[in-house]
Every structure is written in C-alpha cells, then in structure tokens.
Symmetry: C3
Subunit: 325 residues, 3 copies
Amino acid sequence: MSNPFFINKGPFNISVLLKLLNSKTKIEKEQEIGDIKDLVSAETNCITFFHSKKYQDLAKKTKASYCITTDNFKEYLPSQCKSIIVENVLIATSLITAKFYPNSVEDEFDNSVNNIEKTEFSKTVNFGKNVLIGNKVKIGSNSLIGHNTIIEKNVQIGNNCKIGSNVIVRNSIIKDNVTILDNCVIGKKGFGFFPKSNENLRYPHIGIVIINENCEIGCGATIDRGSMSNTEIGKNTFLDNQIHIAHNVKVGENTIIAGQVGIAGSSIIGNNVKIGGQAGISGHLRIGDNVDIAGGSGVIKSIPNNSKVMGYPAKNLREFLKESR
Amino acid sequence: MSNPFFINKGPFNISVLLKLLNSKTKIEKEQEIGDIKDLVSAETNCITFFHSKKYQDLAKKTKASYCITTDNFKEYLPSQCKSIIVENVLIATSLITAKFYPNSVEDEFDNSVNNIEKTEFSKTVNFGKNVLIGNKVKIGSNSLIGHNTIIEKNVQIGNNCKIGSNVIVRNSIIKDNVTILDNCVIGKKGFGFFPKSNENLRYPHIGIVIINENCEIGCGATIDRGSMSNTEIGKNTFLDNQIHIAHNVKVGENTIIAGQVGIAGSSIIGNNVKIGGQAGISGHLRIGDNVDIAGGSGVIKSIPNNSKVMGYPAKNLREFLKESR
Amino acid sequence: MSNPFFINKGPFNISVLLKLLNSKTKIEKEQEIGDIKDLVSAETNCITFFHSKKYQDLAKKTKASYCITTDNFKEYLPSQCKSIIVENVLIATSLITAKFYPNSVEDEFDNSVNNIEKTEFSKTVNFGKNVLIGNKVKIGSNSLIGHNTIIEKNVQIGNNCKIGSNVIVRNSIIKDNVTILDNCVIGKKGFGFFPKSNENLRYPHIGIVIINENCEIGCGATIDRGSMSNTEIGKNTFLDNQIHIAHNVKVGENTIIAGQVGIAGSSIIGNNVKIGGQAGISGHLRIGDNVDIAGGSGVIKSIPNNSKVMGYPAKNLREFLKESR
C-alpha cells in the first residue's frame, strides 16, 4: 500500500531511531534512514520489521538497512541488514512509524481548512453553508456538498457525488457517483492501540478509506481508515444508517448492509452479500460471496460462499430456525 | 396519504411516460397525465399501479386513465383504464413516481436555507448560533432551536418544541411540546431501493415523518421518512439515544424505547409498549399494545397485545429465562 | 455529590414548596428552605426525602427541617424534622428538585456561548472554525478543539486534551490528556422520567459527567450525565465508536470498550475490563475487575471479578461455546 496522504517527516539518523527504542545496538557509522516499510517494499536506507516466522522467506531477501526483530529471528536476515533486537516488535515498529508519520497517530482537526467560498471549488461544486475544505483537496464535476460539512486536506472526491450535511471526511478517496448521507465520519483512525497500564500506546494508522463508484453510505456511519492497509468499500455497495466499519475492513461489490451493523477490524466481506440490521461481524474473518447474514446475527467464524446464516453465534439458517422453535 | 411537501412536476404526456418505461403500449390519442396515485385515490387523468391480486377489487373500481400492471392482472381493470404491461410493476412505478416527484428520490441538501436571523423567526423563536431555516418553514410560539441546527424547507414545527444542536430536520411535521435532542437526523429518505448489478435503483420516498405531541427523541436518532406512507411516532412516546426508526414505521402512543434500538421498515408498534436497549425489530411486523420487549431481543415475528418477550428470536419471557438457566 | 454546575434558585418558603406538592401539611410558621439534599448531607433549613426502609438509620439522624416521605416511614424521623406525607416520594422529590434546579431538567441549548475567537481562549487553545464556548468554561494549556464544536457553560477541560469536530460537551469535567473524537455528545440529561399517560414527567439530572486522565472516547458516543450521582469514566479507559453510556454509570480504569456497546443506567464496570463490540449491559449491575465480555453479549446479571462471559444472556464463556457447537 502506498499512502498518498501522510507526510514522511524523515529522513532520520539511525542513532536517533535507536535512541527512540532505547536500543543498545551498536552502529559502525551514522546513516540516514529515509522511511519505514515492510520487508518486501523496503529499499536500502529503509528500516523494516520482522515479527513472525511466516515471513522468514521475505526476510531473507529484504533490501532494508535495518530490521526491527527479536533475537530468535535475526539469523534469517541477509548480511547487509542489521538487526535491532527489541522485546516487542510491533510496539517498536509503531514507535518508529509514528516518528516518520506523526500525523497518522492522532486525528487532530485540519487547521488548513477554509470556507469553500474562498477556494477553487466555489464555482465548480454545488455547496451549502459553512462548508470547509482543506489543502490539496480534489473534487470532480457535478458534485454536491451539504451544510457544515468538513472535507479535510488531501481528500479526493469524484464526479457526481452527493455529500450530505454535517459530514467529516479525512484521509479518503471517494470515487464517482457516491452518496454519503448526513453526519458520517469517514477516514478517522481506527480503534487500534497497545494497552498499557496508565497510558495506552496508540499506533499509527497510515491506511486510508476508499469508497468505490455508486456506493451509498447511510447517516451517522463511521468508517475508520486502516492501520497498515486500507479500508475499502466495493462498487455499488449500499449501507443503511448508524453502521460502523472498523479499520482495515474490505467490503465487496453489490453488497447491502442494513442499519446498525458493526464490522470489526480487518474482516473481509465478499460480493453480493446481504447483512441484516444490527448484525455484528467479529474481526479478522472472511465472509464469502453471495452470503446472507440475518439481522441480529453475531458472526464469530468465517463463512463460505453462498451460505445463509443466522444466530449468535451465527450458524446455518435452517438449523438455527429449527432449533429455536 | 397526501404529501404536503414534494412538488409534482407534472403533468406529462402519456407518450413521455410510456417512453420512460420502454413500453410498446399503443395509444389512440395523446393525453396529459397529472399525477401518479394508488388505485383508490387515482382520478381520471391519473396513472396508477396494480401489482398484487389482493387488490383486485380495488382495481375493478379505479378511475385512473392508465394502470401499470402485468399481463395476468389486466383483465380486472375497468374499460376506461388502459393497462401498461411491464415486467416489474414496482420498478416501473418507481420510475414514474420519480418523474413526477424527482425531489423525493435523493436528499440533496436544501439550498433555500438562510440564517434564521434573516427570517421571520428571528423574533419569535429562541435560537442558537448558525441556525439555518429553509423556505416555507412554520414554527410555533415558544420553541427553541439549538446551535448549528438545520430546518430544511417545508418543515412544520409546533409550539413549545425544543430542538437541540446539530439537528437536521426535513420533510417532517413536528407537533407541539416535542423535544428533539442533539445530532438527530429526521426525515431523510429510507433505505429502500431495487438492487441492480452495477447501479442500484433508488425508489422515491414521498412519505414524511410525523412526530406527535409530547414526544422526546434522544440524541443521534435517525427517523427516516416513508416511501409510500408516512413514518409516525405517537403522542408522548419517548426515545433514548442512538435509535434507528426505518421508513414507514408507525410507533404508538405512550411507548418507551431504550437506547440503540432499531426498528426495520414498515413495522407497526402499539401503544404503551416498552422496548429495552439494543433490541431489534424486523420489518413488516405488528407489535401489539402493552407489549414488553426485553433489552437485546431480536423480534422476527409479530407479537400480540399484552405479551412479554425476550431472546433472539424473541419468545415468551418466562420460557426464555427458563431455557437459558 | 456536590454539583458545581447547576444553579440553586432557592431559597423558597416552605409554603411555596407545599403548594407545589398539593400538600395539606400544616406549618406553624413560615420558613425559608435553602436546598434539597439527601438524608445525610441535608442541614437545617434543607428539605430531604426518605423513600425506602433501608435508609431508616440515616433518617433517624437527619438534620433537615422537612422530609418528603410516606405515612409508614414518618415515625423514624427525628423531632426537629417535619414529615411531608405524599403518595409517591420520588415524584414529589423530583418536583422539588426541579424547583431548586430548573436547569437540570431540560437540556436547553446554552445561549451564553460565543465564538471562541471572542473569548480568553483565543490565544491559549488551538481551535478550528465556528467553535462556541459558554460562560465560565475552563480549558487547560495545549488543548485542541475541532471545527463546529460546542463547549457549553461551566465545562472544565484539562491540559493536552484533544476534542474533535462537531462535539457537544455540557455539565462535564474532562481531565488531562483526554481525547474525544468527532460527533460525541457528552453530558446531556439521561433517559430518566416517570411515565405518565399523556405527558411523561422528566426528573432532574443534577449529576455531571467526569472523564478522567488519558481516556479516549470514540466518534458518536453519547455519555449522559447522572440523575442523583455522576457518570464517570476511569483513567486510561478507551471507548470505540458509537457507544452509549447511560446516566449514573461508572466505568473503571484501563478498560477497553469496542464499537456500538451500550451500558444501561447506574451499572458499575470495574478496572481492566474488556467489552467486545455490540455487547449490551443492563442497568443496575456490577461488573467486576478483569472481566472479559465477548462481543454481542447481553449481560443481565452482575459478573464477579476475573470472569470471561459470552452469550445472551451472558454466561461462562466455555459453557456458552460448548453449548452452541
């Protein structure tokens, strides 16, 4: 994933990064580190991270100069890549990512915004009262933006979009013909952090939200941006009111989601799925194509294509109805 | 139902309407069609629709000049009423309704609004900052409207009402002594459309929302307007926070609904009903008077008067508690 | 509980208060009554109330001049304390409380607010557009307030706080390092009233909301203030989006609550508790420390420390999973 929005505050000297981690790793000479990337996309002068054995083959080939890892994984790294041994790779990675992308940790309000009347969109967009637009926003032709709506910096909105009133959009790409109803908050950071006594450690969210063509997002939706990947809604998918889509979730195309549904972090929903009102889907699941999930269901396991489920925990629809007679 | 708000863009020549439906129905002479109405209320020069055999007796007596229907129903129509044969009566009806009432399909923000200070209400209403009021709004005496609230065109608000901050009201009639708390969205279109691959077809919502005397609506509620009938909340009914009331729902009088409850489209809730927090009620059900629905219940069948239910699916309260020991 | 915010409109002559209750209690001489307080904190010249036998020992020692009670409890009162006999002690108490603290019944928007640019905070707070600040607000150093946010009168906000956009805060104390995300409504009155045919009777909410250090409150949360005690969120507790916390609830420290959870009135949640998405907790329960409540659970009984529960009604986690295979 390449993120178009968050500004890289690097490079930083490797000694600065090591100090941030309280690391005693010895360095032979000072070096500028330009970015933090995953094992595959890291280039020389990058720092990377390696926290699970399943990535050992990728680790062997990384081009990074430095790698955050643990003592038992360091042997997999190639010779040009120096290991930085830490207790918790994810926490250390989080600290370094926050150093490079400090704006991805918190959602401080965008103080670059101006009233739309003072921007280039004053003649190309049909807008309401008190609309605020941040720096470097793009908005296509024939789009509408309702009253009191805030489009924060860097957001891209396509053609023929209808954005309601009291909406907040940040860190997002909205494609053509998308409707977003009143009171939505799109693109805020997800609910991801390392719990620590006295002061939880928030990790960066460098993913964005992508809403594809012809979607409709109901009133009061919250669609959080991803942490290390994007949150994405497929084409022609319709969401009813008061829905919560957590970080890193992918929803397929032509999917219909009724009111008050919640989808927890990193779950993947297929195409042509129907989800009834108030259903909940746990994190890290995979829901296949053409799945029907009855209203009120609590889904705690992945579901294969073409299934109909109901219940809490959700099971085969017929079985559930038979048992609950 | 007569809708006071949506403007009829007709009349249209029958040839224009037939073309819109890609219909090959032959007409003897051109005729102006003034409105689309149901079988009963349609007059001559109206177009109507007939999609289910249960309406055959009404069909026989309709005064409409044209009727959208299917091949096997056309025989019931009286001789002055010409049939327009289509594959899907509801989709065709939706297209014609949208032609007459284009503003009932989408909820484009009301660009007729002005700051309340510039309206007739500047002296009769007690209002906050940045309050916006649309054309032809009526507001009774001794009412309050909080900061950043938007009362879109045509809305009627009674006496002694208290509207909170950040509220959006459209297509609604609010009777006397009603309290609407912060962040509510009242009167937007419901979640009704015909699913179509690549581009769902939204159908018109020509119903409104009526909130009767002495009601209280909690923070963040969404109460959607009806598609072909009104959404209505009876007198002295209180709603807690974050409640979703879908299109065409009728809630009775003296009913109490706790936080985060959702009621799906077209269900009818009686008088003196109590609904516990997070309960969900499926669409097209009838919940009797004096019913108690326990918090968290998922109601998927109609419930007779004077019942107490709990569970998912909701069943007799005692039975549920006994089984779940 | 001493409430710092609601203004006491007293004193009132005892004859005025008796008239309000339609009481025929005879008084020997007129007396000014300064406040209504509970049995323990009432001083001479106060009115108090006594509605349950479990408070009989406290009643015997009250210093109040008058006490609202019933015929069978009056004998417990000390001689200096005159009884006012009523049918329903709580309704009568509510009427008298509303007399002393009329602003605690309704949440009328604060018309004391000004644009922050016109206040003392124009130089000490980093703020967005259209921020409104009421009278007697306190805001510490290094805090942020986003666009369109309303901080009503009397609210106290600590140092290093981050308040998002479109937020409404009233009757609340926000401690240091607290983050409140967009669209929250903090400190409104709870859903508490006496149901009456034709016109429910709202009772006063003289409690406030206290959010302690290092908390994060997700988008769209509603945290209602208490009726006779405070609603309080402990240190370093994190709430995800669309959560509802009802009046008088106490949440402990280091607790994590996922999206769309609802906690009903007066429940007490311990420290280090984890509550999964969409779980609901009934009112007046006590959830111990270190409890894990699985997503979607419906908790209707108190839960001891160190338990893991799941289901509706929630039971031991292992038992639930075994039964639902």
